[in-house]
């Protein structure tokens, strides 16, 4: 059991929540933008992990996207939350808030 491993497991579990959170906050976001924010927050190391997650969320009807030409480079996929996605995100966020409160409470020394 290594610290790196445990840390990355924690981050991995929260990645979906964070992706949905970023898209929710931005209303619409394209993958490279999401990547930048995740990397900035140290939540993702390998970029390739994002794409399967996005596709799975899309196939699960949480996300939808539209194409938009970009000023430079290939056209971009702009993702946004569907109704189901919005509900899913709200519940996930709620569980996270509860969980983090509970964890903080348990791990804080008096």
């Amino acid at each position: 059991m290594t610290i790196d491993n445990t840390e990355s497991q924690m981050r991995k579990g929260l990645l979906e929540l964070c992706i949905l959170g970023i898209i929710h906050r931005e209303k619409e976001a394209y993958p490279s933008d999401i990547l930048e924010q995740l990397k900035g927050a140290n939540l993702i190391v390998l970029e390739g992990t994002l794409y399967p997650l996005l596709t799975r969320l899309k196939n699960a009807d949480m996300l939808t996207y539209r194409w938009e030409e970009s000023p430079s480079g290939p056209p971009r996929k702009y993702y946004s939350l569907t109704k189901t996605g919005l509900k899913f995100y709200a519940r996930l966020k709620q569980s996270w808030d509860d969980l983090s409160n509970a964890v903080n409470h348990l791990t804080t020394s008096i």
């Binding site: 993958p31 996005l54 056209p75």
Partner: protein, 220 residues
Amino acid sequence: MQRIIQINIAGRLIPIEEDAYLMLRDYIRSLERHFEKEAGRDEIITDIENRIAELFGIRLQTGTPCIDQSDVSKVIETLGPAYTLGAETADPVNPYLPGPYTGQQQINTSGQRRLYRNPNDKWLGGVCSGIANYFDIDPVIIRLILVILFLTAGIGVIAYIIAWIVIPYPTTPQDIAYMTGGQPMNFHTISRNVAVELQDLKKRGEDMSRDLRDFFSRKK
């Protein structure tokens, strides 16, 4: 000397050195194999290709005339080798560990080696280069011995197939570090391994015949 070719990736024309192209092609094929069972496979690959095109575009804007091998390996490092990307059906592999090829001995194997088939250098199942890796010798020597065994008594064929089935395939960075330590073999894992390998072999056969066709049509 290097030949520079043009490739079209995600609708973008990219000048790339031939070696670098082959490296990139192998990477994309490894992704295709990795996401084989995934429903959104084509879409995932297209998205990743898009990202690759974007990264190459950024690189070309810095004034470099074409993409070379170091650019491709940087891109692979950024995106992550296929087996770290967590396919739906795959065994739980930690996708956030940095690539094992770069940081080789971050995982402490205390000099210990285990026998694995080598996914990075294989003709059929990676048996020979896995064995060579274990003994730290050139895979060509093992392959030569095997060919001689083929020719003399045909023992080589059977020995190879058995080795192919029995020697595990590395799936996690730890595995690669050990060239690697495995799950116990049982009927289930063996039959799964065989199925995966057959698929892989079929893919390789197709790739090979495509390459041959390309080669001959170029000759004409």
